[in-house]
Amino acid sequence: MEEIDLLLLFDAVLGFTLVWLAWQTLSSLDLFRAVVLFIAFGLLMALAWVRLDAPDVALAEATIGAGLTGALLLSALAQLSARQKHESETSLFLRLTLGVLMFFLLIGLGYIVFSLPPQALGLSVEVAKNIELSAVANPVTAVLINYRSYDTLLELGVLLLALLAVWSLGSASTRKSAFVNPVLDLLTRILVPVFILVSGYLLWVGAFAPGGAFQAGAVLAAAGVLLFLNDWHLESKYTGFALRSVLVIGLVMFIAIGFGFVFLDRVFLEYPPELAGGFILLIEAAASLSIGIILAALFLGRDPSVKSDSCSDIDTGVHK
């Protein structure tokens, strides 16, 4: 009993810290501070996921939510010239009105949450009942890659689309070729192989324990980010078609295997149980490779095959 109370105390402290960090993130005058606090917020979110028995989500949050988002934010901040420190003063009336509205929203949402039955109608029974057929033992992976694999397929689409969208904007500015710190260089040389190893491990372990394609991909992307920080470039002969093929391989493999069994009288995204394990691993391997490279490319922020930055104005075509 006492142990539970202690844990509840821990939860309360964690919850309070999360709220405080969120508030500080938004209201701090210095943008750098805001970003750093947000990263801390993400890491504590990962802790909250652990407390909620959601280790898969914790891994995803730590690698993607805090790690890569943090890297993206810091990199964007470094390129941002307009860093005005002070928000212009908004009127007290607006703040008060909005505050009152938020308060009502909070009350309303709180009411919904507390009026829910303490025992849920969720799908945990269904998930467990069919786990044998899904060919993976980790229920979260089973949902992601089998029961609701269609969502995951579209999600790979979202990632690829985001990269396309960022590339279509053209590069804002190239990163200044920074002085390469020897310690960072050494660190990179040690860590990149380790990251690749860990990525493979997460991919493999995802079938029966926390882990999976997204977490593996994110770790791979972290290796990429380290390399970019070391002023590393992909050789130009690989930046064109070869790179693009790697970016799409996850999506294409998913569709190809998902549709492949249609010709054997299955439906789209259905795998025969006896073959499912192998094919799922194949899909996940391709997916995590693509995810890793896409996330790293998002960090780089521009199409490496486009040489100069002269195309500051991409015209709409013929007119103007």
Partner: protein, 98 residues
């Protein structure tokens, strides 16, 4: 039984190191001394906690993973500390003198 006690002691001492490191981070006067406090204390503190957890591990595999975590954090921690310090130096932050 003895293992449990040892674990407890190690955890406590480890936590103390973390506390000291955090105090140093908050109270020390400049970036270099703060880094010193943070990395030194956290590395040792983490080491003690990792040893404590190793004692409770079910298999050698888990022990290996814990060890790997410690080594990685040592590497990353010291590397990042160096980067922060050298950046601070490049920006011309003078070390604190009494």
């Amino acid at each position: 039984m003895i293992i449990d006690i040892v674990t407890g002691v190690l955890l406590l001492v480890g936590a103390l190191f973390f506390l000291a490191g955090t105090l140093g981070l908050l109270r020390f006067p400049d970036v270099y001394t703060r880094l010193h406090a943070l990395t030194k204390a956290d590395n040792v503190g983490l080491g003690l906690i990792v040893i404590a957890l190793m004692l409770q591990a079910d298999s050698w595999f888990v022990v290996g993973k814990l060890l790997l975590i410690w080594i990685l954090i040592l590497l990353a921690g010291s590397g990042v500390a160096h980067l922060v310090a050298s950046t601070a130096q490049k920006r011309g932050l003078k070390p604190w003198k009494k």
